[in-house]
Symmetry: C2
Subunit: 350 residues, 2 copies
């Protein structure tokens, strides 16, 4: 890809931020309507009841930034030195609406994002949002996103009304990603009602903790059901340092194998590879929200230099210092270029 800064000037690499959020007004208004009418689940009520109505600086600034796809966002990218942002519609996407409304709203949002990418082709890359409530429609939207909108990946905001993509009815979505040769990015939303109880009653349902464990669970559900045996070339991305799965890897692998051997669960069948193998060959993680040298270098060590990509998590964690944290990592220049630029170029086919 050509870029005004070409190779990042003196620094020798572009900064490509891979998990950057935006929203349409219609989308946010939709959340607020669900909350107002008591039709939102507990997590959406907690999340958007806060961001949509709180007078706090955090909430108001984040909503303003989510909605801006032009001057303000580009200025923020310039101020922090982000060369390219890979954009997707913020959580919980369109997955909390009734299917017909979700599809209509999701299609319009994808069109709006494509228009923004067209206005700023050197700065933005788009991902296709979906409405898993209708898996076949979502599969068609993934194909449309690639063929007509120029999108480079697929975004799902984790569970859909408490259902996970390992359930057979969602297979068309996974197949469409594999056929498009595009990565599926699983972004957090709040845990579903069937899980959120002890998180939300203690204020730990959001990005502070609930988000991460729910996405880690989602990815592990997909791995253990054998999604990568079904689609060996599929790549799944998760943010936030891999939602802690890299740290858990030894224990997960041990207990998964013990579970398979003992036949404890009908669902848990032998897989072609170890969990470790899938994490190193089919999963990519990003550093969104985890701009911390120990965690980044740990993840690079255990997953490999090719599996970790930079992300800012704009606007939720818009902290210019965090870019510097990445720039100053004590890793080789080659590894840093992979982290900041070329892994994203490979995974998203830029």
């Amino acid at each position: 890809m050509t870029h005004p800064l070409n190779t990042g000037g003196d620094r020798g690499y572009l900064r490509i931020a891979t998990e950057e959020a935006c929203a349409t007004r219609e989308q946010i208004d939709g959340y607020l309507r669900l909350v107002r009418e008591g039709k939102a689940d507990r997590g959406t009520t907690s999340l958007w009841g806060f961001y949509g109505t709180s007078p706090s600086e955090r909430a108001t600034t984040i909503v303003e930034r989510l909605l801006d796809l032009d001057d303000r966002r580009i200025a923020d990218m310039d101020a922090t030195g982000i060369d390219v942002a890979i954009l997707s519609m913020t959580a919980p996407g369109f997955q909390v609406f009734e299917a017909d409304e979700a599809k209509a709203m999701c299609g319009r949002a994808n069109d709006a994002l494509a228009a923004a990418v067209e206005r700023h082709p050197d700065r933005y890359v788009g991902m296709t949002s979906i409405a898993p409530q209708d898996p076949e429609w979502s599969a068609r939207e993934i194909a449309r996103g690639k063929a007509e909108l120029g999108f480079k990946g697929v975004m799902v905001n984790s569970h859909t009304k408490g259902e996970y993509l390992d359930e057979p009815k969602f297979d068309p979505i996974l197949r469409a990603c594999a056929e498009a040769g595009q990565p599926l990015y699983i972004h957090p939303q709040s845990p579903p009602d069937s899980m959120i109880g002890p998180f939300v009653e203690s204020g730990l349902d959001g990005a502070v903790f609930g988000f991460g464990v729910e996405v880690g669970l989602h990815l592990l559900r997909l791995i253990t059901i054998g999604v990568f045996d079904r689609y060996p070339d599929l790549t799944i991305c998760v943010g936030h340092g891999g939602e802690a799965l890299p740290y858990w890897l030894y224990r997960i692998d041990y207990m998964h194998q013990a579970g398979v051997r003992s036949g404890r669960y009908e669902r848990m069948k032998p897989l072609n590879k170890s969990i470790f193998g899938y994490m190193r060959e089919n999963v990519c993680i990003t550093t969104s929200g985890m701009a911390w040298a120990p965690a980044i270098t740990f993840a690079m060590d255990v997953l490999g230099e090719d599996r970790v990509m930079y992300a800012m998590d704009y606007p939720y964690q818009y902290v210019p210092d965090e870019v510097r944290t990445h720039d100053l990592l004590k890793i080789s220049d080659a590894a840093k270029k992979k982290l900041m630029q070329t892994n994203a170029e490979r995974v998203f086919g830029l």
Copy 2:
């Protein structure tokens, strides 16, 4: 403490394993009765429905080993080179029974464990089990465990019927630990019904994943409610590499501070220290189930050499090779002695 091996012979340190499980026959029969009568929660039904009835080698061997507090356990310790085992009653302890039954059964189990420690004083250290269903009784049992039974710590198998120790009614338990100067060890059990849905339907409710995130949540609930501001000298231990909280630390700290500033949750008040500070000063973690050099050294780096202790997780993860993994860690001799021996001696007051 005197010990037949004195200083671990040539190796220069004792191996003190800090999270080692046992059970009484009455306790296991109690679980099976709850499961049979349909009175167990979903997690206990999954866990003990498996361990208590499966003909698999894993299940039958583990139950046999849990019940043995003499020859077989000592032989296994000798075979793997564990000098001292810090023992506690296995999950879910007595926390799934009605209060009166729980207290009676828990008291008898504490007596039985004390008798085993008396039979093998150089090899075993005991922890007091409690029945948080009755917080005042549990406080008295903690005092009795210290004064009469010679126990050195307090074991809680995480939530009690879906309730967590940060709730005000459990304060007597925390106060009793602080007054006894003994650490509170939070061991996993299955997530409560209010959380377990997407875990148990996918076979991920147990040690493979659900255990760890539930205990991580429990510890985070205690930290964020300010337990260590209330009891600045209290130590809480968690196993399994700190249940991933060390890896999450940067994000948790950032989002906790953002949450406090924005006033999102009534419950989330400013604390005296950062989450990072409490993790480094009031929390100790053990390596149970995480015999993996990258995770152990990561935890030692971010929490400090004084905060990480060896554990095997016998009999659930009885893997002689894992002892060797610890012995061969590329850390200083001084750090290794802390990990294997002296941190446990300090924390448990041996």
